[in-house]
Symmetry: C3
Subunit: 108 residues, 3 copies
Amino acid sequence: MITVGLKKVTIIAEAVLEARLLNEIRALGATGFTVGEVRGEGSRGVRASDWEGDNVKVETLVGAGTADRILAHVAAAYFEHYAVIAWVTDVQVVRGDKYLNPSDTEPR
Amino acid sequence: MITVGLKKVTIIAEAVLEARLLNEIRALGATGFTVGEVRGEGSRGVRASDWEGDNVKVETLVGAGTADRILAHVAAAYFEHYAVIAWVTDVQVVRGDKYLNPSDTEPR
Amino acid sequence: MITVGLKKVTIIAEAVLEARLLNEIRALGATGFTVGEVRGEGSRGVRASDWEGDNVKVETLVGAGTADRILAHVAAAYFEHYAVIAWVTDVQVVRGDKYLNPSDTEPR
């Protein structure tokens, strides 16, 4: 089975941010994504406010370079004022070369 | 805590494929799965058509041998004509030996 | 992009267990979580009964020490009498140091 090592970027955000966030990750090089509904609760750490309520869970499979750009953007654009969480998981994707774009580093 | 290294196979597919897909992964050795609803959008890469709409996200914990068989089947049966995405993540499962079947290679 | 290596603990459980489970993982050191709805089917392995129906999927990002405590608790409290599945995935979390608590081992 031919698989390619990619990065799965997961972003949990308030539902109201969905459209804006999807436009931004498309612009940063993601070629597709899925969105699911989750309920969440958490402490934001830096700020006193807690978050709780309806959220979207956005997942996108991308190369390492695109993953870095998405995470850097999310941190810079949202972390100060919104309850957003973002993480990366290493995954092996069937025929995953289709998800790479020219800016991505070599698949591993 | 005793955990066993297994493969989590995730498949995103059009909702209409759910019943067929679940029958097939059972037949290939998966002993259980979960199904969630996601919305998706993407480019299929090989073909000109894009996909967008309601999808199911199927997840199953299996041994490495079963994971390979599921991925090979999904690629052969669906990739040409359907918008299906499949990937594998390494996970550590509590009492995960129950998810292995005799055809699986040694857990890692 | 500054990320911290954390553990994502995922627990699939009957929906009726949600409130109890969330209280317990908070008490064990988790600072936040998301909950989504999934349908599931599976064999419990040790016991003859199968499970099938509506489940919750709880995810929490924690340090290695907290992950171990949550998994040990879930196994001891639920595995004999309930259809509960729990696993851990290594993830890289943006500004993930906020999710650690003093009992966690050094982030990796």
